[in-house]
């Protein structure tokens, strides 16, 4: 384990490499995604880095018509909304991410519990382009 493998920036750095990472506590076995330096279950600081499978299910979602500046800059607005959700990962933890590949014309048709897999989206262009974690239907 390198010293910075579990620091707070590690999760977002791994996304740059198309990976979802987390940590497994070496004392109690709890998996945390994103990774934690101190286990929220047993407070041990002994942990190893793990990679998530990228498979999960939709636990909650919304379709956003009034975006924050960052998403407006990426081209989203009331006529071009986007879906963001909370995904229950196969490994147990839940994470927040954009959900792509859905028909947003009728949000009522989006089903909680639907299976999803990881994908990665780029927002912004040129120098401001940045990769973000997202999920899509399987």
């Amino acid at each position: 384990m390198t010293e910075h493998a579990l620091h707070s920036k590690a999760f977002n750095q791994a996304i740059e490499e198309d990976l979802i990472i987390g940590s497994r506590c070496l004392v109690c076995g709890k998996i945390s995604i994103p990774q934690r330096q101190i286990c929220p279950n047993c407070h041990s600081d002994q942990a190893e880095r793990v990679q998530a499978s990228g498979q999960g299910t939709l636990a909650a979602f919304t379709v956003i018509y009034v975006p924050p500046t960052s998403m407006a800059d990426a081209g989203y607005n009331a006529k071009n909304p986007y879906c963001v959700g909370i995904v229950s990962l196969e490994e147990g933890p839940r994470i927040s991410a954009q959900i792509v590949g859905l028909d947003l014309s009728d949000p009522a048709a989006i089903k909680i519990g639907m299976p999803l897999r990881q994908t990665f989206v780029t927002r912004g262009e040129g120098e401001t382009a940045k990769k973000f974690l997202a999920f899509e239907p399987i």
Partner: protein, 420 residues
Amino acid sequence: MAKKLSRGVAVVGVGMSKFGVFPEKTSRDLFVEAFQELMQSVQKGFNPNDIEAFYMGNFTSDYFENQSHLAPIVANWVGISPAASTRIEDACASGGVALRQAMLAIASGDVDVVLVGGLEKMTDLPGAKVTDALALAADSMFEIPAGFTFPGFYAAMATAYIDKYQADPDALLRVGIKNHENGALNDKAQFNQTIRSVMTGKQKKAEQKGLPIPDWQDEMAFLKDPKANPMIAWPLRLFDCSPVSDGAAAVLLVSEELADKFADEPLFIVGSGQASDGALAERASLSEVPAAALASQQAYEMAGIQPDDIDFAEVHDCFTIAEIMASEDLGFFPRGEGWRAAMEGRTARDGSHPINTSGGLKSKGHPVGASGVGQVVEVWKQMHGLAGERQLRGNLRYALTHNVGGTGQTCVVHIFEKRN
């Protein structure tokens, strides 16, 4: 064993500015209005020089007004320097946490007379910047990159709640209608009109302009019309969201033994609780707010009472779904029953559990740092028969306030008693 304060604490005065949009006023001006009203409300009068400490809830004057270190400035502005002055920042729960810190300071024995303030001046910034400012209350590393907004977080909780309990989404609209009916009777409210009067106002305007008159049958039809009530974050529409507001509120706390020197009818803080939580995604359940349930359990235990003993409550309805979840977190209704209670009018002024008689954040307005303090103003008014047309009937003894920061990363609950 239930925890008790080392000594009792009483509320002896309250005040608030009107909540709304005031381009000509700063947060200092708004706090002056709240302070002046507080001075008037102290039944036996008091000398501001007696104030030993000031706890002030404010979310982000840094961002909204380009001003940090606001507590000593505001203290000086109302003439109470050198009172020890501290700004409390816990997002939308800043005001409720300031109240709790003031209460604990008195209970510790260190001080006897403490001013609690809450203030926020939000409307100087354009709407998109306000959305960005509020997003500062979420986790900037793991929640914001997903694209969440605050309406978005609560909307996601709403989808989880509706799915889990097969709830009728109309319950959300019912919360908004009820809170506007209450706020219409509160001259301090930002939107002091009913949804029905908003609707008929729009119909009249169309008629005057010679445009086609929208044929909404009732408030529900109006609220379901996407032109009248646009979707913000599905399933939450504009009228499910509390507004962007300017405003301030103030409460004077004293030690129990001094209460009679200030007030004929002081209110006693008999219960208090506060809890925290991680990011929304981490929680075991997305259809409830665990820190609110914990904070209320602490408060009920301290007070030695049950949820059914509460005569009325001011809850943190930043979004309509938040009021429904709160009505369960606080134990007024079993899990999964809150939406039905809202549909059946059980939280209206004449219901079994009146909630947000002031109009709540939804109608009264939500100047973030002021909201948790403003709730106490309504408790005082109802307990003293000063609530005018929205006055609750019958003998009122216990009231509860519930103030939430973010999506429930901070929750703070207080219980007040009027002893006759």
